[in-house]
Structures are given as C-alpha cells and as structure tokens.
C-alpha cells in the first residue's frame, strides 16, 4: 500500500478472515465473504499495492483459481460467485487477446479499470467505516452532561413517535391486510336481509310496548355487527332494507331529518295514539 496517498492515515485494517498470506489461506471457507466483490477485494489486498494499480489480470486468475479449488473441494458456491467467475474469465480473455474492432463494446482495459475502481470504492468505504468507528464517539469517548438539570413544569403531553415507528406501522397494516383470509371476511361481513328482517321485526314486536319513541336504526343493529366497518356497513344496509319492507307492510314508521341524518325507526302506532 502506497503510504503517501492513503487518505485515512492508517494502515488498512487487516482482514482477520484472510489469515496468513500463504496460498492455503485461500482455502478458507467462503462463508466469511459477503459476496464475490468482498472476496475479490480480499484477494486484491494481497497484491499489496494501491488498489487502482493492481493487476486485474492476476486478480482474475487468483479468483478463478479460488473457484476451481472450491469446486475441487466440492464446496457449494453461491450463484453470484460463479457469475463473477464467468465474467472474469471473459475479462481475462479480453485482456490477453488482441483488441477486437472498436465497436465490440468496451475494451478489456476499460473493463479492468472499472473493476479496479469498484474495488477501490468498496475499500474506501470499508476504511471510512473503520475511521468513523475509531472517532471519539458519544457515550464511549465523549460524554454528555450526566445530570441534565431542569426544574420542569409539565404543561403538555407531547406524543412521540419516530419515523421508524411510522414506517413499521404502515408495513404492519399493509401486511395484516395481505394476510387476512378472504373467505373469513366474506362469510362474516354480510348480514343477510332475511336475518336483519327477522331480527328487526322481532325487536319491534317485542319492544312495541317499551319502544315509545323514535330510535336510530344504528341503535338497533346487532351488538356484534357494530364495530368492524365492513360488518357495520353490511348490517346497516340489510337493516335499512328490512326497515323499508316493514314500513311498507305497516309495522314500523321511518323518519329522517335530512340527507345523511340518522335514520329513525319506531313501531307503527294506531291513529290517535300519539
């Protein structure tokens, strides 16, 4: 590593997974690598030069050798490791063979340079992560006032919620929705007109004595059909239709003050009764 253009003023962290520099270290399990790029970076570091000056050809050969050895040892390589191997084999051929006519896409050199650049970028961020971690961190190296003072008077309640809470709530809602069994919904969400009518007629008949005044249709909905909106909607629709039928047959009277006002119901009274 060329010390003079090292932006982080520190030797790159030694990757504990790479162990010693001997070739056998390459036999380590690939489990330690997060992906082909991670593995390539580890191989590139062994060249001990600035990442932008590595020999991509040598790197490609090392990678291919690694993959070959892994396959000889019957280690299962994830697909992306093999895709990278195929691409590096192609790159190697482009680097070794004479350049084809210009219109055949990027030159081998350009591809190699792009790869080296990618590795340098990843390396830079890896080093940056290390540099961040070694800063004087709050709660480890720097400390806030241990006993913040306040003679506070509580005047209001503020509701606290973080963006993470908000996003989670949304995913939760949408997920719950996706998992709600449809069949269950369908069966449960419809109050049959017959049922509504039977219920309303029984209620009106039985309550006739006590039900002296108008009541909202809402108040007459079955108890367990009031909460969930879908069930409630269905119950209102069925009960309304049932109320219309009963009114036509002369059992109840209906009244509504205006559009969208509550619908009122009462048992039909004999003329002169009220």
């Amino acid at each position: 590593m060329a010390e003079d253009d090292d932006p982080f003023d520190a030797a790159p962290p030694r990757d504990p997974r790479s162990g010693e520099d001997d070739e056998d270290a390459l036999c380590i399990s690939i489990d330690g690598f997060e992906g082909p790029l991670d593995l390539l970076l580890d191989l590139a570091r062994r060249q001990k030069v600035d990442l932008r000056r590595i020999s991509v050809l040598a790197l490609a050969e090392q990678y291919l050798a690694f993959v070959e050895r892994a396959q000889a040892l019957r280690i299962d390589l994830a697909g992306d490791f093999l895709v990278m191997a195929a691409w590096l084999a192609y790159l190697k051929s482009r680097l070794l063979l004479p350049e084809p006519p210009a219109d055949e896409g990027p030159s081998g050199e350009a591809l190699a340079e792009a790869l080296a650049h990618r590795l340098a970028r990843l390396e830079a961020m890896r080093r940056a992560a290390g540099a961040l971690q070694s800063r004087a961190r709050l709660g480890q190296d720097r400390f806030a006032r241990g006993a913040p003072e306040s003679a506070e008077r509580i005047v209001a309640t503020r509701h606290n919620a973080s963006l993470a809470d908000l996003l989670k709530a949304y995913v939760r809602v949408r997920t719950r929705e996706a998992y709600t069994p449809l069949s269950c919904d369908r069966r449960a969400a419809v109050l049959a007109l017959e049922d509504a009518r039977a219920r309303l007629s029984r209620l009106v008949g039985r309550e006739a004595a006590r039900m002296t005044d108008w009541q909202t249709l809402d108040a007459l909905l079955p108890e367990d059909w009031r909460a969930a909106p879908a069930r409630r909607r269905s119950a209102i629709a069925s009960s309304f239709a049932a109320a219309l039928e009963l009114a036509r047959e002369g059992d109840v009277e209906l009244r509504q003050e205006g559009p969208f006002e509550p619908l009122m119901v009462r048992p039909r009274r004999e003329p002169g009764e009220g």
Partner: protein
C-alpha cells in the same frame, strides 16, 4: 488512551479529569469517589478548589452538597431552567397505524382508513392526531355523502424530519431488503380486532357520532 495526558502540569491534568468526571456524573460525587476514578496519587482536593474558583461567577458553578460535589446552574439563573416542558408519550399502535395510513394515502377518508386497517378507527384516534397537529381535515371527497378527508400537516413533516410526504419510502421499498420486517403480527388474521382508542379508555364513537371532519374543511 491519552499518552500526552501528563504533558501539561499534573495539577492542570487532574483538574481537567475532575471536571470531566463531575460533568458526566449523574449524581454528586465525593472526593473519594472521584479519586477512585483517577490515576493513583492525583490530588483531588486542590483540583476541586481550583475548579470551584474557575467556575465561580459563571453561569454554572461547582457546588458542594454535603460531602459531595456537582456542577449546578448558578442560583440566579434558575429561572432559565424552569421552563415549561412537555412530557413525551408514545403514540398508541392504533394511532400510529392511522397516522401511517393518512401519510401514505392522503387525502383519505375515515372509511378508507378503516378499509386499509381492516378495523374501525375510533373518533378519539383521529381527534388525538388532529390535536397533536399532525393531521388536518382536507377537502371533502366529491362522492356521495361528501365525506371529509384527512391529510398530514407541515408539523408532521417537521416531527418526522421529512422534507416532503412523497419522500416516504414506497411499501415495496420497505418490504424489499427487509427495510421493515414484514412478518405478520400475531393475531394478524383476527377479522374484527377493535381499535380501542388511545389508552384503552374512550373506545366507542359516541352514538350520534359527530365526525370531527364534519366541522372542518
């Protein structure tokens, strides 16, 4: 550690250390307790005296409390600390979900919120969000019944450090790469889960329920 710690005169070094320890401590500390944290042999007493003198007259003073010491606001500045504060309280799950739906689907009617949530939304929940100032009543929807809609406010953006509601990640983005864990919560499939209001109390829209949205717009 700090190799140059004893670069300055030892009494200055000790003073700095005592200052830091007292500052970071949640409770007053005795000379003994301070000494326990310092390199062996540090002279705590003189350091405390020097600090007391250095802070005297400033906005913060080093006070002796019994046998212990602590930094405190200068007594004449107490009025600065006696501010009116607000206690923070987490938002209920129901309110959080309602808010999230409004944020993502605005302008949205109450019925639409209920459709997305799969459970009723109590009036108290919407009232609370209106009261906090994170939502407001938007334009009425031009559909039968002309229901009121709800939208989020600038205060909402402010609180969640968002520049625009459009910046909220799409559901697909949240799910992909597990930005937010999408495993269904237990009881996810329970069809008629009740939204029991904010803190358990006030759970039912009052009969003759006056939707807060009716007044708005």
């Amino acid at each position: 550690m700090a190799p140059d710690l004893f670069g300055p005169a030892p009494e200055i070094a000790t003073q700095r250390m005592v200052e830091a320890i007292l500052f970071a401590s949640a409770a007053p500390l005795s000379e003994r307790e301070i000494a326990d944290r310092l390199p062996r042999g540090a002279a705590v007493g003189p350091a405390i005296q020097a600090l007391t003198a250095r802070y005297a007259g400033g906005g913060v003073v080093l006070e002796r409390i019994g046998k212990s010491y602590a930094f405190r606001t200068a007594p004449d500045l107490g009025f600065l600390m006696r501010r009116d504060v607000v206690v923070e309280r987490p938002l209920s799950r129901a309110a959080m979900e309602t808010l999230a739906i409004i944020a993502y689907h605005q302008p949205v009617t109450r019925t639409e919120i209920e459709e997305v949530r799969g459970v009723g939304v109590s009036k108290g929940t919407l009232d609370l969000l209106l009261e906090i100032g994170w939502i407001r009543v938007g334009r009425r929807r031009e559909t039968p019944g002309r229901p009121a809609t709800f939208v989020t406010t600038p205060a909402f953006l402010d609180h969640f450090a968002l520049e625009d509601v459009r910046d909220l990640p799409a559901l697909a983005e949240l799910r992909r790469a597990g930005l937010m864990d999408p495993t269904p919560p237990e009881g996810a499939a329970a069809p008629a889960e009740r939204d029991d209001g904010l803190f358990g109390e006030r759970d039912d829209p009052a009969p003759g329920e006056d939707d807060p949205s009716e007044e708005g717009a």
